[in-house]
Each structure stands twice: as structure tokens, then as C-alpha cells.
């Protein structure tokens, strides 16, 4: 269960959502798209087109090759201790075959997305059905969505209950803007909300459905609107993976020269720890994203060297206080403000 906290204007989280769905189509998975905001048909029409492997890989290959040949000759004179560290790879290498790349400027062709079976749930069209679930005290919008998901899972055989339906495929579920007022939940507008448990109950039941079947789910939530932190904490505990996107639009960071190459930050709050004691923790937790004309990339956050004359104390403290990267490049994330004070 991948839980995404939306950024302020929803631009980038929508992009991530569409990537998830597009990947599903290219891999031949079935889709289930639910939204209360846009009609799922429209969402599907806006999916980015997959890049043909050859051209893109050649481009990436060229870039990487030129960079490598230059660096090889330089050996470091002053910072020679760093010579032995592996080069930081900022863009996906040409070796990885995991997943596909997409071109954001082009839309996916209708033949491609009609080649997979997809189901949609648009809240405002489903209002006529009464939820059959017994008195569980849950928001009716969520109840209907749950019922719909459960019906699709059992009908299409994703849960293995019907031995005759041998589906080898996976169901990818995408739910957009859950918890917003369009779903009938008031956690985004009032604190304390009238029914604080609806969202968490929904997530628990959804988790049960996902564990029981061959499916994966991404949910985007306008977390910046939810005033009640308790709900966000509980929701984090109930999800497997929690990613937050923070875009720089409209905030003071947009003009901050330290962030000039990037459009926003990616906060990974939680990574899944399934079926093992440990989880795959990457070297650094500081990730930023940028939207180029064709590509949306997530990279490790690099701060450019601090060469300006007027280094203001405020901006450094702001960085450390907001728990991002210390400019020494060692990649530690300070969680407590008190303990690391420069």
C-alpha cells in the first residue's frame, strides 16, 4: 500500500499517480482507478506515453559516456581522500531494466490503454448504489469504494478463490485524492473531524484486501489540508510505504539558490518491511525531483558548493531545521533539532 502525500497544487503527485497507472498498462496489469475529482476516463487519456526503449537509452548512454570519459583523467589533487568513493549516480543508469520510462509531453495512445482491462470508480456516478456492508460506521463513499474493489477482486479472480479463473496478472489500484472533501469526509476542513476513524478503517480493510489478493495500490492524499496530525500518524502506521512530495511552487524555497535545479523534494517517511526483518534502506534519504520537458526524475539531492559571499545563517539553520541535507555530503538526516547544531 503506497501512500503519497500530495504537494500543494497536486501537480506532481498527479504525475506520480499517472506513472503508476501507465506502468501497469505497459506491463499488462489490470487497472482499477477511483476518483471523486476527475472522471477516470479522463485520467486514462492523460497518461504519459512510454518511451521507446532504443532512442531513450541511446540518449542516456551518450550522456553517461561523455561524462565518464572526462572524469577518468582527472585525479583529485586536494580532496584525494574522496577519490575512492563511488561516483554518485544521479540519473538512472542504462543497466537497470526495472520498469519503463515515460515521456511526459506525449499522451498514451488509446490502443495501448484499451488493451488492458480496466475498471473505474467515479464516486459521483456510484451514488445510486447503497452499500451493503453491515453497520460499520464508515463514510458511505469509502464503503462503496471498498465494496467495489472487493467485488472486482473476487470476480476477476485476483484472490485465488475461484480455481477456474487463472489470472496471472496483478491488479493495480489507484485512488486519487482520498480524504478530500469530495469523498464526503471532513478531515480536511474541520478539526476535530466528525468521524476521525473512517479513513483509518477504510485503509485497514483495504490493506486486508490487498494482502489477500494479487494487487498493489497507490493512494494520494492532500495531506497538507489535514489539520489533525493524529490521523496522519495512524495512516502512516497502516500503510506499507509513505512518500511525501513537497513542491517548491509558491514557497520561499523556489527562489533559494540552493534548490535551483529542482522542483521539489521527496520525503520518504516509511519503506515497506515485508517478509523480512530488514528493509532495503538506501544510502541517503535526501531525494529531490525535477520535471524536465520530457522526464520526471527523482534524484539524490545535491547541494551546489557554497560559494556565495553572503552566506546567511538563516538559510543554513532553515536547512538543518527542516531536516534535509548537511552540506558535508555525508547524508545523515537529522531528526532531532537539538542534537546537531552548527
Amino acid at each position: 500500500l503506497v501512500f503519497t502525500e500530495e504537494d500543494k497544487y497536486g501537480l506532481y503527485s498527479n504525475l506520480l499517480f499517472k506513472y503508476f497507472l501507465a506502468e501497469g498498462i505497459v506491463c499488462g496489469h489490470d487497472l482499477f482507478v477511483a476518483s471523486a475529482k476527475e472522471h477516470p476516463d479522463n485520467i486514462l487519456k492523460e497518461l504519459p506515453a512510454p518511451l521507446l526503449d532504443d532512442t531513450h537509452r541511446k540518449e542516456l548512454g551518450n550522456e553517461a559516456a561523455t561524462v565518464k570519459s572526462e572524469d577518468f583523467q582527472d585525479s583529485m589533487k586536494i580532496a584525494w581522500r574522496y577519490q575512492n568513493l563511488p561516483k554518485m549516480e544521479t540519473s538512472p543508469t542504462t543497466h537497470t531494466k526495472f520498469g519503463h520510462y515515460y515521456d511526459v509531453s506525449k499522451k498514451m495512445s488509446p490502443e495501448l490503454y484499451q488493451s488492458v482491462k480496466w475498471h473505474s470508480f467515479y464516486l459521483h456516478e456510484e451514488l445510486s448504489f447503497e452499500p451493503k456492508m453491515k453497520a460499520w460506521n464508515i463514510n458511505s463513499g469509502y464503503a462503496r469504494l471498498l465494496q467495489s474493489i472487493q467485488r472486482i477482486i473476487s470476480q476477476e479472480g485476483f484472490d485465488g478463490s475461484d480455481p477456474q479463473k487463472k489470472t496471472r496478472s496483478v491488479l493495480r489500484i489507484g485512488i486519487q485524492s482520498l480524504g478530500s472533501i469530495l469523498w464526503g469526509d471532513d478531515i480536511c476542513c474541520s478539526d476535530p473531524p466528525e468521524d476521525p476513524h473512517s479513513l483509518t478503517k477504510f485503509l485497514y480493510a483495504l490493506r486486508g484486501l490487498l494482502r489477500k489478493s494479487l494487487s498493489a495500490c497507490i493512494i494520494t492524499v492532500p495531506a497538507y489540508l489535514i489539520q489533525n496530525k493524529t490521523i496522519m500518524e495512524r495512516v502512516t502506521n497502516l500503510s506499507d510505504m509513505v512518500v511525501g512530495l513537497e513542491s517548491f511552487i509558491g514557497s520561499e524555497r523556489e527562489t533559494n539558490p540552493l534548490y535551483k535545479d529542482y522542483h521539489g523534494l521527496v520525503h520518504v517517511h516509511q519503506i515497506p518491511r515485508l517478509n523480512s526483518l530488514i528493509c532495503d534502506v538506501s544510502d541517503t534519504k535526501d531525494l529531490a525531483f525535477r520535471l524536465k520537458r520530457k522526464l520526471f526524475t527523482i534524484e539524490q539531492l545535491h547541494l551546489p558548493p557554497d560559494l556565495s559571499d553572503t552566506v546567511s545563517r538563516a538559510s543554513k539553520q532553515d536547512l538543518a531545521g527542516s531536516a534535509k541535507l548537511l552540506s558535508s555530503g555525508c547524508g545523515t538526516m537529522a531528526m532531532g533539532k537539538r542534537h546537531l547544531d552548527f
Binding site: 478503517k201 494482502r211 489477500k212 493524529t230 515485508l274 526483518l277 545523515t332 537529522a334 532531532g336 542534537h339
Partner: protein, 247 residues
């Protein structure tokens, strides 16, 4: 025997402790009732296999009673009408009352005639989820109290419970439950993320608090702190500052 252990985690995931206790008690030959509210059976089973215990075999021979919360929840929500004499243990989803869950625990740990297991053990993962499902904190505390009375005092067994807590959390109900349980536990294992931030070699710090003050009035609680690193099959503990990466 008869101990209540509280597993607590802050800013990190303390579930490795749950896996440890599960395999520990199964290997010791105790009868275990595991209320697993957050993960599926296969998750625990796979980890337990790495630790050398087979959950499926334990279930077959009756040593392990496993309540898979997620599956039961779906049965309650989407299943047909259940018989009134056999309420599902997750009845609280509709009634917000934990009586049925307690009955389930009590019945599964009650000693049978042919049982030859050493003390019964109740393991709960994790209690904070109950609050997310609409149960009042007082009901949760009552449930724990009943469990302690029946398992620790009457049956001389052990109870191990996992809760999540964050120091700057705004979740008042959770704080209430956690603080109250801390006061009543004999042993607290508190796994925390490092205060200085994320580190690849040291995953966190664990505080072991033996509540001697509960038994003798003059004694202080004994607090020991270690750092730990989780690997694929085990967890290594070492004194703070003495991680292998530093030495």
C-alpha cells in the same frame, strides 16, 4: 512467569522484537496466542523461517493460535451473516467492544487435557491499530487488564504487547494507552531511532527497562541502553558507540 512485557517503538519499526519473541516462545515450548492485527500470516511465517521456526507446523500441532486480523476483518465486512453464538473475535469493528476478542484469547489459552505446553503466552501486534479502528482507549486498557488478569495471574503466563509511540505525537488517545501500559508493565523494551539521525550501521537504540519498582518499594527501575543493527537473520546488539563500523 506471569510477566507483562511492553514493546514500544518510537520513530522506528519495532516489529523485529515481535518476531524475536514469537520464535523465542515457540522454541521454548510455550503455547502462544498471537493476535496479529497488522500483517498477514505469510509475513510472519517467512521471517520465522529465517529465524528457524516453522509457524505452520506450530499451528498444526496446536502450539500456536494465530488470529489474522486482516482476514477476519474481511470476513466480518464482506462475509455472510454470522451465527450469534459464535461471534467473530473482530466483532469490535461494528460494536466497538472488545469482549469477543478477549473471549477468543481466553479460550485459546485455556489449558486443555492433552496439552503439555509450558506456560501460555499472549502476543499482540499491535495495539495502536485498535485505536485506529474506532475503539475507545478506555476499552483498550480494559481489554489489556482483563488479559493480564487471566493470562498472567490465573494461568501464570506471559503477555507481550507492541505499541507505537512518538514523543512529539499529537495522538492523545495513543499516548494515554501507552503511558498507562508503561506503568503496569514489568519489562519495557523501547526501540527508538537514533537521536542524531539516520545511520546505515546502527539502526536504532533499544532501552531495556526492568521495573523493579513494581515489586519492591525502594528499588529504582533498571535502565540499560544498547544500539542495534538488524540483519537478515538476526539482530546484533552492542554498547552505544561501539558499532562495528566505528571500531
Amino acid at each position: 512467569q506471569g510477566k507483562f512485557t511492553l514493546l514500544r517503538d518510537s520513530r522506528t519499526d519495532g516489529s523485529f522484537l515481535v518476531h524475536h519473541f514469537l520464535s523465542f516462545y515457540l522454541r521454548a515450548g510455550c503455547k502462544v496466542c498471537f493476535v496479529a492485527l497488522l500483517q498477514s500470516f505469510s509475513h510472519y511465517s517467512i521471517v520465522a523461517q529465517k529465524l528457524g521456526v516453522s509457524l505452520a507446523a506450530a499451528k498444526e500441532r496446536g502450539q500456536l493460535v494465530f488470529l489474522e486480523g486482516l482476514k477476519c476483518c474481511l470476513d466480518v465486512l464482506f462475509g455472510e451473516e454470522e451465527q450469534p453464538e459464535q461471534p467473530s473475535p473482530l466483532q469490535f469493528l461494528s460494536s466497538c467492544e472488545l469482549r469477543a476478542l478477549f473471549d477468543f484469547v481466553r479460550l485459546s489459552l485455556a489449558p486443555g487435557e492433552r496439552d503439555s505446553w509450558r506456560g501460555p503466552v499472549l502476543l499482540v501486534d499491535d495495539l495502536s491499530v485498535l485505536l485506529s479502528l474506532g475503539v475507545a482507549p478506555v476499552a483498550v486498557l480494559d481489554f489489556m487488564h482483563y488479559c493480564r488478569m487471566s493470562v498472567c495471574c490465573q494461568l501464570q503466563g506471559n503477555v507481550v504487547v507492541l505499541v507505537h509511540s512518538n514523543e512529539d505525537s499529537e495522538d492523545e488517545e495513543n499516548n494515554l494507552v501507552v503511558n498507562s501500559l508503561c506503568h503496569h508493565s514489568d519489562l519495557i523494551l523501547w526501540a527508538e531511532g537514533l537521536a542524531t539521525g539516520f545511520c546505515k550501521d546502527v539502526h536504532g537504540q533499544i532501552k531495556i527497562i526492568k521495573r523493579l519498582s513494581l515489586q519492591l518499594a525502594e528499588e529504582q527501575d533498571l535502565v540499560q541502553t544498547y544500539h542495534y543493527k538488524i540483519q537478515d537473520r538476526n539482530v546484533t546488539f552492542f554498547a552505544p558507540g561501539l558499532s562495528a563500523a566505528v571500531l
